[in-house]
Structures are given as C-alpha cells and as structure tokens.
Symmetry: C2
Subunit: 200 residues, 2 copies
DNA sequence: TCCATTTCTTACCATTTGGTAATTGCTGCC
DNA sequence: GGCAGCAATTACCAAATGGTAAGAAATGGA
C-alpha cells in the first residue's frame, strides 16, 4: 500500500505534496489523505475548466497556465489574472459562499491540474487538522500577490504596463496567446502588437 | 471599573466592538482587552498616517476615508484603493513580514481611526484566543472585496470606469477630492473633469 | 506537403486621453 | 468683506488608443 502510494504521488500528486512541504512537514499518512482528495486532469489551450455559476471545485496547477476571465456584454473577453504552476485556483468567494459568479476559468496554454471538490476539501480538513490553517495562509498570500501585481500596473500607460508585465510575469508572457495578454492589460490585440513593434 | 469601561467604549471604541460583534459575540471581558489595545486618533484631510517603510500599525476606521497610495518617480500620486468606516487598514504584507513598502496611508477626508501596533495585536491574540481566526476571516473577505472592486473596472474606458465608481463606491465619490478619484482611476484630473462634464 | 483556419501584424482614420496653460470657483484666514 | 492659496474646470493641440479592414505568419489536419 505504501509502495502504491509512493508510486502514485511520485507520478502525479508529487507537485502538490512537495508544494505543501515548503510550508511545513507533511507526514506520509497525511499525504495519503491529501492525495486521495484530488483527481488529475489534463487540459488543452482554450479548454474551459469552470464555466460560471457556483464554483464547487478547487484546482492545483501542476503544469501550464490558467486564466480567470469574464465575457463582457459586448462579446469581448477580459482576463482578470493568470495563475501558473504551484498555485491553487478557484473562484474564491463563489467557492466559499456557494454563490454564483460570472467569472470563468480557462487554460491559457496546455495544462495539468489536480481537482478537488468543496465537499472533499472540507472532509479533508477534518482528517488533517492543521490543513485549513495552512490553506488559509497560502490563500492570504496568494490574494496579496494578486493585489500587488495589479497595483503595480496602475498609473502607467499601455507601453509601460506591457514592459512591467514582461518583468513581473516573464514566464507567462512567453506561453500564452497575445490576445490573452491584451485582454489582461485592457487594450486591443492591435494596440499590443503596435506596442511590441515599437519596443524592439 | 466596568462603568469606566462602558463609558470609554461608548464614546470611542464602540464602532470596533460593534463591528466585531457582527461576526460573533464578544464577551465584555474580551471587549475590555481589545479596547485596551487601541488608541484613538483624529486626522485632517491630507494627513499622512503612514509614510512608507516598515508598517508596524493597524488601523480601524471609525469615521472618514483613508487612501492607500504611492508616489511615482515622476512626482505623481497613484491611489491603490480607498477604505472607509468599519474597515481595517494596514499595509498587510509589510505588517505581516515586517518588510519595507513604498505604499503610504493618507486621510482622503477628515477621519478618526483606532490605532494598534503589531506587538499589541499579537499580545491581544494570546489574550483572546478566537481573535486571530476572526481577524483572518475579516482580512480574507477584505482582500476579496479589494480584488472584486478593481476587477470590475477592467476592460472599460475611463467614462465607464467613473460611472462604475459612482455605483460601486458612491459614498466615497462625494467625500474625497476629485484629484484623488482621478489618481484612483488612472487618469488626469483634467480628463476626469471633462468626463464629469459630458455625463451631466 | 498542402490547404484551411486561426492568430498576429500592419495600416488607415476616428476617438479618447495627456500636457500645458489660463480661468473660474472654493476655502480659510485676516 | 476681501484677499491669498489651492482645487477644479475649460480650452487648445499633441500623443496614444480603438475600430475596421487587409495582409502575413503560424498552426493543425487531411
């Protein structure tokens, strides 16, 4: 059983356990409980992981980039933020309060995620007593990072924002479609193309 | 003693205790401990409450509006967000990690706050065991609100953003200088003035 | 490999926003 | 009330961005 567990987490769930180990030691028994609560899922660029409504799942990104976005009334897309490897992803207020949201989650490039549900996570919190506090700590830091990144763009024109994006999120800049970056920076793909041309 | 406590919290600290009571009952003994950790402070519009560096204080706003802002290299001001009555205010990552920040906290209009320090707050967490979890819950909700409000502006032009600001934060719109609102929306005061003219 | 589809780029012009400066309006102080 | 200082508005022109459309490049499938 332990061998099977080892094999299993080595192939797919290792990133999650390894990530949690950065914060505190995770005994193997707890690791098994945690691993059992998640399922593996593969996504292709453009796949929709969550399509609005009440969000009942939480994801951990093993590979690739997700984007949180909305569809506007006039048919455009607006990207709220990007998330990458070793980050948890959900629509947090919808997940916490079980209220509907207009936000979607899509794969901004090919990706692999671990999926759990709210019910499984709450049960897991009962099994692993320190896990809720740990997750809350991780979530608070993630929220602060989201705010810090967005704040950095404020007060700059589009060219400066794109340069800042290249510095703040260089790995994302090279891996997702230009149109997604434009929708993230609040400009049209044409404007971003012009800005890229002027920079080189 | 109890009478003095009652008088004291009735005059100045009532807003904080009342606010916490919205989340869970606060026994009077705990209320006394909490009250003892905060000091009252009055601010005039434009006063600087925190001037960058390492943030060692946390504020609870009893009256008025604070703004979190930065000074840019070229001498402009950029407002990251506004906070109003019944909200806690600090530079959270600086406060938590005791690292320097470039963000400032100023009074966007005349205001009254309750002030505590990181040391007093940590001591208070030992005295009132449920308080840290309660504060973490309040903080998480506040961070989600900050993100939600900013996300709503994404993908709209300046006119739509100002209209949205009037809807999302109507009480703030009427109480702070136009220049602060412009710096919050990322446009010049002249542009905002033109937008206001076109709307009426 | 070729073709079809999509994405990205470029160009043109209309619209919006920024920069400078002058004017008006408001507030507080004497 | 009058004056000084600051905030807000308005106007003018330059610069940046959006909208439409067309062309170039990359992608994916037969």
């Amino acid at each position: 059983m332990v061998l099977i567990y080892r094999l299993y987490i080595c192939t797919m769930l290792t990133p999650l356990i390894s990530y949690l180990q950065l914060f505190r030691p995770i005994p193997e028994a707890d690791g098994q409980h945690i691993a059992a609560a998640f399922k593996h899922r593969v996504l292709k660029e453009g796949d929709t992981l969550f399509n609005g409504g009440i969000c009942r799942e939480r994801y951990f990104i093993c590979r690739g980039i997700l984007r949180i976005m909305v569809n506007t009334e006039d048919g455009r897309q607006v990207t709220h933020y990007f998330l990458k490897e070793n980050q948890f992803c959900t629509i947090l207020n919808s997940f916490n309060e079980q209220v509907p949201t207009g936000e979607l989650i899509q794969a901004a490039c090919d990706a692999e995620v671990l999926v759990t549900t709210r019910d499984r996570l709450l049960a897991l919190y009962d099994q692993v007593p320190y896990l809720k506090a740990l997750m809350d700590q991780i979530i608070q830091q993630a929220l602060l990072d989201k705010i810090r990144i967005r704040n950095a763009y404020l007060g700059h024109d589009a060219t400066a924002q794109y340069k800042l994006f290249l510095i703040q999120q260089p790995d994302i800049a090279t891996r997702v479609p230009i149109s997604d970056i434009a929708s993230y920076l609040g400009i049209t793909p044409q404007s971003l193309s012009r800005i890229r041309k002027n920079i080189r």
